[in-house]
Symmetry: C2
Subunit: 253 residues, 2 copies
């Protein structure tokens, strides 16, 4: 039986494809500038885009002069659109579910060569066995290779109810609960029952460390004051981060 993938569902796509980040590409993703700041030099490097969706990062990396770009996604609907949009012969797309066992070392290589940079935007929070995936990523990278990823922040993914509330004293608060209870979370996002994996920030960090990486930078991302002024998020977003951005690398030896 094939696992449900909401990225193949018409009702989900109707909403998802109208998000600013899909309509406007990377510049429509409010955290893109912060994520880009974590990237090493792209020119001449082999790049993997894990959970590439419509392939906008893949396109950008090709435009930056990447030697090759491999976009991987589990949704046929996403990859069809990504291939139709792709603007460079250096980009290759592959269909693979990050949760399934058909993703192995070779599926992260282009022409049998190890990769230099693995990038993943807002995909790893769907992955059940993160340790396994990170060990494959580490094995697929060349010495000195980098992993840069973003996920929904654990403070965001934890609670029963993901919305601000007013408490008796009058403060607006993020109603945090179940932070230390890891596992599946079902949320309604364009469709009902979108499955994500909640893990604590420490679990993300320790999984990256245990896969052999050295942590280089963490960003607990929320919109900046000037973005809030421009209508991206609101003043409430100072109360808790949206995303966790991470840069890690392998020893150069």
């Amino acid at each position: 039986m094939t696992e449900r993938n909401v990225y193949n569902e018409a009702d989900f796509l109707a909403g998802y494809l109208n998000l600013p980040r899909q309509v406007h590409g990377l510049s429509g993703a409010a955290e893109w500038a912060a994520l880009r700041d974590l990237l090493p030099e792209i020119a001449g490097r082999r790049v993997v885009d894990l959970g590439c969706g419509l392939g906008r990062f893949s396109q950008w990396a090709a435009g930056q002069g990447a030697a090759s770009v491999l976009g991987i996604d589990g949704s046929v609907e996403m990859l069809d659109r990504a291939e139709a949009e792709a603007n460079s012969p250096k980009i290759v797309f592959r269909l693979a579910d990050l949760n399934s066992l058909d993703l192995d070392l070779n599926s992260l290589h282009v022409d049998g060569q190890p990769t230099d940079i693995v990038f993943s935007s807002l995909a790893l929070h769907y992955v059940r066995d993160l340790d396994r995936l990170l060990s494959i990523v580490a094995a697929a990278l060349a010495p000195g290779g980098s992993l840069i990823f973003s996920v929904e922040h654990p403070i965001y993914s934890a609670p029963t109810t993901q919305g601000f509330v007013e408490v008796p004293r009058g403060d607006r608060v993020w109603p945090l609960n179940n932070y230390l209870i890891e596992g599946e979370r079902l949320t309604d996002w364009f469709v009902e029952g979108v499955r994500k994996q909640h893990r604590t920030l420490a679990t993300y960090m320790n999984s990256v460390i245990d896969a052999g990486f050295r942590l280089e930078r963490l960003v607990e991302w929320g919109p900046h004051a000037d973005q809030i002024e421009a209508g991206v998020g609101s003043i409430d977003d100072l109360h808790r981060p949206w995303f966790l951005l991470v840069k890690a690398s392998l020893a150069a030896d």
Copy 2:
């Protein structure tokens, strides 16, 4: 003008000295087992206990066969008690405020020798300039040296009100707000106006990395099920961590 240090105030001490962790020593600190698991071998190593308070960790480290133990604290009241209790000629105590400029490289050395292990329990959240302190710690450590510390978890230190509330839907929640707004927090803890520094988890991690350390392990600590059953904390403590525990090390070169 000397800065206020509540650890010298009679009203504060009346409450603080009756905490389980002061009455019973390390075994009265619910997170001690998790913190101990982060420690490298102590025997034969030079150890610094930063913010040693009553010196219970210093005593324990001496008992484990440390070559030397240097306990540093900014409170005369704490150090007087620590010296009265000290049970080993290997332990030396020094009065130094972690915020003040009188803490330098030499003040972390015993007999002019670099240290092997710097330990700090629930002290760094009082320190305003963490980057400066960590750079001193890194310089005072021998190659391969370790830093192990605990602080109040940023999720705990952030909110306007540090207490669980019930929200309209009926959930018990930790009323998180102001997480991304770093800086001073005034809390009432035995006395009014205890000053702590709130910084995000990312800031803690990046400060450790920028000081030259490699992050080895993070623990977002809350009481375990068997501790909760024994009356340490409550089921609410699954909603958010109490403490952040960190292990980091310098390259061995």
